[in-house]
C-alpha cells in the first residue's frame, strides 16, 4: 500500500495510515516530518501557521525514530501535528492570535499538548485562529485571515506573484480555522483545536475534515488560553473519523490541575470505529428544520438519515423545544465569562503595555491597543450583562435558559435516543469579508446548529457528507450522550463510509 510513495506524497496519508506505515518501517518519522515541513513552507500563502517550528519537529522526529527502532513507540509516535495557538507550548511563542499577548513564551505546557508529546507526536508549529477563539471565520486573528484550501467552482482564486493568494478566497471557518485549513491542505496529519460554540465543528464542515468536540470535562483545559470556561473544550480535527478517534484518546483524560476535568477512564475510541450501529435510535430534532433552511443542507440532512437507516439505525423525530434560545443565551454567557477571563490582560504580567499617566490609563490604553474589535465588543457586552442592575435580567436568565436547553436533551436521551443527527452549519464556506461587517449577529448565526451542544456540555462530531452546487464541502453533526463519544465515532464512520472522503485535490497554492 505504501511502496514507492514519493516523499512529497507522505502528507497525503491519513494519521492512522502514517502510523501503520511507520510501524511497518516503510518510511521514517524523519522522512514523514520533512515531507510535512516542506508542504508547510510551500503553503505560507494560506496563512494557516502563525509559527513554524521545523527544528523542534526534526528533533522530536529523530527521537521518535529511535523509539520506533527499539520497539517503544507510543500511540502517536512520529506523527506530525499542528497545534492551535490557544494551547500553551513550553518555550514556544503562544499568542491566542492576539496582539495583547505579544511575544508571550509560556514556561509551561498545556496538559492536552503534553499528552500528545508523551505519546510520541511531533509538533510542526502553531496554527492560526480567531483572536481568543472569538469568531466563526478566522478573520479576527491578529495574524490576518486564513485561506480555505477549497475554492468555489470557477472561482478567481489562485497563487499570485510573490507568494500571495489572488482573488476573493473563502474563509475556513473559525475559530479553529488554521487547524481545519492545515488538515485539509495536508500541512499536518491532524491538529488540536478548541470549541466554545462550534469552533471545531464549523471549520471542519467548511473544509471537508472531521472535528469532534468531546463532552465538557473530557479534556483538561489547563494551559489552554481561556475564553468562556464553562463552555470551552479541546478536541481534534483530522482527515478521517478514525484519525480523530486516535487523537482524542491521547488528548483526553483526568487532570488534577483542572477541577472540571472528569476522573473517568478514557476508552480505546478507535475500537468503536466500524462498530455496528444496528438498532441505535437516532433523533431528528424538528426545531432544527429552520425557516428558510438552505435546500442543499436540508437534502444532505435527509441523505444522512437514509444512510443511518440503511446501516440499521432507527430514525425517530424528536423535539428540543428550547433550541432557538441557545444562541442568544450563548451571547450572554460566553461574553460574560470572557469579560472575566480576559481581565488578566492588563499590561502588567505579560504581553503588550502602552504607557499612561496613571495605572488606570495604562490598563485602558493597553487593552485598547491590544484587543481587536470583536474581542472588545464581547468584553463590553459581558461587562454590561454582569453589571449592577442588569445581572438578573441578562446573565441569570440566560443561565436558567441553559438549564432548559440541557433538560431538552436529557428528556430525549431518557426516551432511549442514542444520538441526534443535525446539519453542522447553515451554509458552506463563505467569502472573506462577506459576513458580519455591518451586524455582528450575522456572523454569530453560523453557530446556530453547534452552540446548543456547548450549552448542554455534550459531545458533538462534524463529519463531511457531501459537496454543494458550488463544489464546496458540507458536514453533518452528530450529538451524543454525555461521555459517549464512542457512539459518535461509530455513527460518524457510517457517514464517512457512505459519503466517501473529501480530500483537497490540487495544491493550487504552491
Amino acid at each position: 500500500m505504501f511502496s514507492d510513495i514519493p516523499v512529497t506524497d507522505l502528507t497525503r496519508l491519513t494519521l492512522t495510515e502514517a502510523r501503520d506505515g511507520l510501524k511497518a518501517k516503510q518510511f521514517s518519522a524523519t522522512e514523514l516530518t520533512k515531507a510535512h515541513i516542506a508542504a508547510v513552507e510551500q503553503a505560507r500563502a494560506l496563512n494557516a501557521y502563525v509559527l513554524e517550528t521545523p527544528e523542534h519537529a526534526l528533533k522530536q522526529a529523530a527521537a521518535s525514530d529511535e523509539r520506533l527502532a527499539k520497539g517503544e513507540a507510543g500511540p502517536l509516535e512520529g506523527l506530525p501535528l499542528g497545534i492551535k495557538d490557544l494551547f500553551a507550548t513550553k518555550g514556544v511563542r503562544t499568542t491566542a492570535c492576539s496582539r495583547i499577548l505579544g511575544n508571550f513564551v509560556p514556561p509551561y505546557e498545556s496538559t492536552v499538548s503534553s499528552q500528545l508529546w508523551r505519546d510520541g507526536a511531533v509538533m510542526l508549529g502553531k496554527l492560526n485562529n480567531d483572536e481568543f477563539a472569538m469568531g466563526s471565520s478566522n478573520e479576527t486573528s491578529a495574524f490576518g485571515p486564513v485561506v480555505n484550501p477549497w475554492r468555489r467552482q470557477g472561482s478567481n482564486v489562485g497563487a499570485g506573484a510573490a507568494g500571495a493568494i489572488e482573488g476573493n478566497h473563502l474563509v475556513p471557518g473559525g475559530s479553529s480555522g488554521g487547524s481545519a485549513a492545515a488538515v485539509a491542505a495536508h500541512l499536518c496529519l491532524a491538529a488540536t483545536a478548541t470549541d466554545t460554540g462550534g469552533s471545531i465543528r464549523q471549520p471542519a464542515a467548511f473544509t471537508g475534515t472531521v472535528g469532534i468536540k468531546p463532552t465538557y470535562g473530557r479534556c483538561s483545559r489547563w494551559g489552554i488560553v481561556a475564553f468562556a470556561s464553562s463552555l470551552d473544550q479541546a478536541g481534534p480535527i483530522g482527515k478521517t473519523v478514525r484519525d480523530t478517534a486516535v487523537m482524542l484518546r491521547s488528548m483526553a483524560g483526568h487532570d488534577p490541575k483542572d477541577t472540571t476535568s472528569v476522573d473517568m477512564t478514557v476508552p480505546d475510541y478507535e475500537a468503536s470505529v466500524g462498530r455496528s450501529v444496528k438498532g441505535m435510535r437516532i433523533g431528528i430534532p424538528k426545531e432544527y428544520r429552520l425557516e428558510g433552511l438552505n435546500a442543499e443542507i436540508d437534502a444532505l440532512w435527509q441523505q444522512g438519515i437514509d444512510w443511518l437507516r440503511a446501516a440499521g439505525a432507527e430514525i425517530v423525530e424528536i423535539s428540543l423545544p428550547h433550541s432557538k434560545y441557545a444562541l442568544p443565551a450563548y451571547y450572554i454567557v460566553a461574553p460574560a465569562e470572557a469579560s472575566s477571563n480576559l481581565a488578566r490582560y492588563d499590561g502588567v504580567r505579560y504581553g503588550l503595555r502602552e504607557q499612561g499617566r496613571d495605572i488606570i490609563e495604562m490598563y485602558e490604553k493597553t487593552r485598547a491597543a491590544g484587543f481587536g474589535a470583536e474581542v472588545k465588543r464581547r468584553i463590553m457586552i459581558g461587562t454590561y450583562v454582569l453589571s449592577s442592575g442588569y445581572y438578573d435580567a441578562y446573565y441569570l436568565r440566560a443561565q436558567k435558559v441553559r438549564t432548559l436547553i440541557k433538560r431538552d436533551f436529557e428528556a430525549v436521551y431518557d426516551q432511549g435516543i442514542d444520538a441526534v443527527l443535525t446539519p453542522a452549519t447553515p451554509s458552506s464556506a463563505f467569502g472573506i469579508g462577506e459576513k458580519g461587517s455591518a451586524d455582528p449577529v450575522e456572523m454569530y448565526l453560523n453557530d446556530v446548529f453547534t452552540v446548543t451542544v456547548n450549552m448542554a456540555g455534550l459531545p458533538g462530531i462534524a463529519v463531511p457528507a457531501g459537496l454543494d452546487s458550488q463544489g464546496l464541502p458540507l458536514g453533518l453533526q452528530l450529538i451524543g450522550r454525555p461521555f459517549d463519544e464512542e457512539t459518535l465515532f461509530s455513527l460518524g464512520q457510517v457517514i464517512e463510509e457512505a459519503a466517501g472522503r473529501f480530500p483537497v485535490g490540487e495544491r493550487w497554492w504552491a
Partner: protein
C-alpha cells in the same frame, strides 16, 4: 433594552478599554444589535428554573493544602513588560 452613548462610555471604562468619542456611535450600534438579538430570551418562561452552575454534575475536587510548586519567580516575571529584581513594575499607584 438598549444602551445610549453615555452607557457605552461607562461600560468601556468598566471594561478598562479606552474608546475614542468618535468610535462610540458605531460601538453603540453594534452593542445594541447584540442586545436586540438576545431580547428574545424574554419569551421564555423561566419561573422555578434553577440557573445552571455546572453542565456536568460533579463534586468539586479539592487539592491538598500543601505547597507543591514555587521558587520560580524569575520564570514568572520573564514575560513581563517591565520587571526588576523579580518584581512586576507598574506606574505609581500610591502618592
Amino acid at each position: 433594552m438598549s444602551v445610549d452613548a453615555a452607557t457605552v462610555k461607562r461600560v468601556a471604562h468598566l471594561s478598562r478599554i479606552a474608546v475614542d468619542d468618535a468610535d462610540v456611535p458605531k460601538l453603540q450600534g453594534e452593542l445594541n444589535a447584540i442586545l436586540g438579538f438576545v431580547e428574545q430570551l424574554n419569551e421564555v418562561n423561566v419561573s422555578g428554573v434553577e440557573p445552571m452552575t455546572s453542565v456536568t454534575p460533579m463534586v468539586m475536587k479539592k487539592r491538598q493544602d500543601i505547597v507543591n510548586d514555587g521558587e520560580i519567580a524569575s520564570e514568572i516575571v520573564a514575560n513581563a513588560p517591565a520587571s526588576e529584581d523579580d518584581y512586576f513594575m507598574v506606574p505609581k499607584v500610591i502618592e
